[in-house]
């Protein structure tokens, strides 16, 4: 019953996104489409954080590391190979490999949640410092000069399969970005509905109990972490092809902070929440960027503190519980039956 309802919700989200995908180029100017593409990229990034944190319960404070690795991989591979589809695939695969290595150390070391946060944060700081220090022409991978703090300019835009010489224009990039978002959303919904996804959520809820039933939390956490990294890498590839430019600031802590704030605002344990949260925060940052009296960081910081203190579960779960409360007051019999599972849960807890 619950599964049916949630998959119905997923279908609605997918249909709405497809409508948005085709409507935006008709309604907005080319500049507007460019803005919308950035929103799609941060929404994909938000999904990755939302999955890793909200469903697998992994406190990744350095998700920007995978975004950055994906973006840099796309840039370097596209410049060297000239084949942008291969570059896009690598931009997903390389962050996954990196996440597998890092995750092995973290999850098989059985370090606590807080330490995972600190280590992921540290890794993104390392990568930031590393890429910043690569200024000068001696630092290059193949034909791609890494460029230190100035980053890599003139990244070839994505070209569709079969037409390597006809790179996409801004509107084409929008379609790619939006399709990536929809595919990522659908993939995560499917994963969560599968047996694997249920175990992942079970481990988040009670790791010891899941372990006693016979699941290995380390493996499931590692796999979830790797999936999240792949999606962040895809966001990175979209980001790189969107701007045609990438610099070490993708690894910066503000990038990780932005996506964490997005997920927190949108709602933990939902997928639509992080998407909406990411778009809202990016919009706020864009607005803040047009004035110069208040620094954007100040606004982000205040929003983060306010949400932690006042709405720690995020907007989407709060709205959902309002709707549930409204519908349960209008239809009382349902509310009565809904009480039973709660009662049995309390019994089993005590």
């Amino acid at each position: 019953m619950k599964l049916l309802r949630s998959s119905g919700g997923a279908q609605t989200v997918v249909i709405l996104s497809i409508i948005v995908m085709f409507a935006v180029p008709k309604v907005l100017s080319e500049f507007g489409v460019m803005q919308a593409t950035l929103f799609a990229a941060v929404a994909i990034f938000g999904l990755s954080q939302g999955f890793v944190w909200g469903y697998a319960g992994i406190m990744s404070f350095g998700q920007a590391a995978f975004l950055g690795i994906g973006a840099y991989t796309y840039a370097i591979a596209a410049i060297n190979l000239g084949n942008t589809q291969m570059a896009a695939l690598l931009a997903i695969a390389v962050p996954m490999l990196f996440a597998a290595l890092l995750g092995y150390f973290m999850f098989y070391g059985r370090i606590s949640d807080a330490y995972v946060g600190v280590i992921t944060l540290t890794v993104s700081v390392i990568l930031f410092e590393l890429m910043n220090s690569t200024s000068g022409s001696q630092y290059h991978i193949g034909d791609a000069v890494l460029g230190g703090f100035n980053g890599i300019p003139a990244i070839p835009p994505f070209a569709p399969p079969g037409k390597p010489d006809e790179p996409l224009d801004q509107i084409g990039v929008w379609y790619v970005a939006m399709s990536t978002l929809i595919v990522a959303y659908g993939f995560l919904k499917w994963t969560l509905a599968s047996r694997f996804g249920r175990v992942v959520v079970a481990i988040r809820e009670n790791e010891t109990r899941a372990m006693l039933i016979g699941y290995d939390p380390r493996l499931y956490k590692l796999l979830s972490f790797v999936i999240g990294a792949g999606i962040a890498g895809a966001a990175g590839a979209v980001f790189a092809t969107w701007g045609g430019f990438i610099s070490p600031t993708v690894f910066a802590l503000t990038m990780s902070a932005q996506v964490i704030i997005s997920v927190l605002i949108g709602g933990l344990g939902t997928l639509i929440g992080p998407i909406l949260g990411a778009v809202a925060i990016q919009y706020l940052i864009n607005v803040a960027g047009t004035q110069h009296t208040i620094d954007p960081s100040l606004g982000l910081g205040i929003v983060l503190v306010a949400f932690v203190l006042l709405v720690p579960q995020g907007v989407v779960p709060v709205v959902r519980s309002w709707i549930a409360r409204l519908s349960s007051t209008s239809r009382t019999p349902r509310a009565k039956t809904a009480k039973t599972p709660n009662a049995s849960e309390q019994e089993s807890r005590s």
Partner: protein, 288 residues
């Protein structure tokens, strides 16, 4: 021979720097189990205090060593009362809230001072080790590091305040029943940690550029040193700073400072894989 001396001196300086930037975080984490992500920004505030005071004509030593811990300690006190105290026991939420504080402080200082690098004049010159000239200021850093760690050890081990502090951290309910107010102890501990971070910022201001984002350069090293150190605050900080500082300086000497930083962080991740409880989680368990 001269080279060995120089290298030894640099290693000592590196260890002292690492211990200084870590100890404030170590006090807050070790005592209160709060991971303070605004630690780097507390250091940044300390450095800005030093810059502002020294340009206003205050004696350089006073503006580096006295004012930053006072100012930042006060800031820590206010933040603990207004934000942190509502989140005790919710580790993730305190991490997020302190990250929000960190962003807020960066934004606030950028709005006031602008996103430019300021500097504090070096108060002392240099001296020679054989044929090499080294900064005498490194001696100041080593001195401050030794004084801070040893006085903190005395404070925790030999004073009544330290006894109350340790008792409250071990068992808040029991110490409350003996007449201690745990809330006041938490407040004091957080302020103490903030003050130590401020001191580190003030001391390091002359050798590092002072900018709103400078905290980010230290935060990763400080965290990893606290985790590597383990549960004993002072012994852990000292040992982990010793190990990581040594690795950092040697690798920096053989290659570049950036590779040195990377070697530090990578060795720390491996250490945590091998010793998840940190060095003092395994050895020297009875120290503090």
């Amino acid at each position: 021979m001269d080279l060995t001396g120089l290298l030894a001196f640099n290693v000592l300086t590196g260890i002292a720097t690492l211990a200084l930037i870590t100890i404030g975080l170590g006090v807050i984490y070790g005592m209160m189990r709060i991971i303070n992500l605004a630690h780097g920004e507390f250091m940044m505030l300390g450095a800005y205090t030093a810059v502002t005071a020294s340009t206003a004509g205050v004696n350089i030593w006073v503006s580096m060593l006295i004012l930053p811990p006072l100012v930042v300690g006060l800031v820590g006190l206010v933040l603990e009362r207004t934000i942190i105290r509502f989140l005790y026991g919710r580790m993730m939420d305190t991490m997020l809230a302190t990250w929000g504080i960190s962003l807020g402080l960066i934004g606030l200082i950028t709005s006031i001072f602008g996103n430019v690098v300021k500097s504090v004049q070096m108060p002392v010159g240099s001296f020679a080790i054989g044929q090499y000239h080294v900064s005498a200021y490194s001696l100041v850093i080593i001195g401050v590091g030794v004084v801070v760690l040893s006085s903190l050890l005395l404070l925790l081990r030999k004073t009544r305040f330290g006894l109350i502090l340790r008792a409250t951290m071990q068992n808040p309910a029991m110490s409350a029943s003996l007449g201690v107010r745990p809330a006041a102890v938490y407040m004091a501990t957080f302020a103490l940690g903030a003050a130590l971070a401020g001191l580190a910022g003030g001391v390091l201001a002359p050798i590092s550029g002072v900018s709103p984002g400078m905290g980010g350069a230290y935060i990763a090293k400080a965290f990893i040193t606290v985790l590597g150190g383990g549960p004993a605050i002072i012994a852990g900080t000292g040992l982990a700073a010793g190990l990581f500082g040594f690795i950092n300086e040697i690798v920096s000497f053989l290659s570049t400072p950036v590779i040195g930083d990377i070697a530090l962080l990578a060795s720390a991740i491996v250490l945590i894989r091998v010793l998840p409880q940190g060095i003092t989680g395994r050895f020297l368990r009875r120290s503090s």
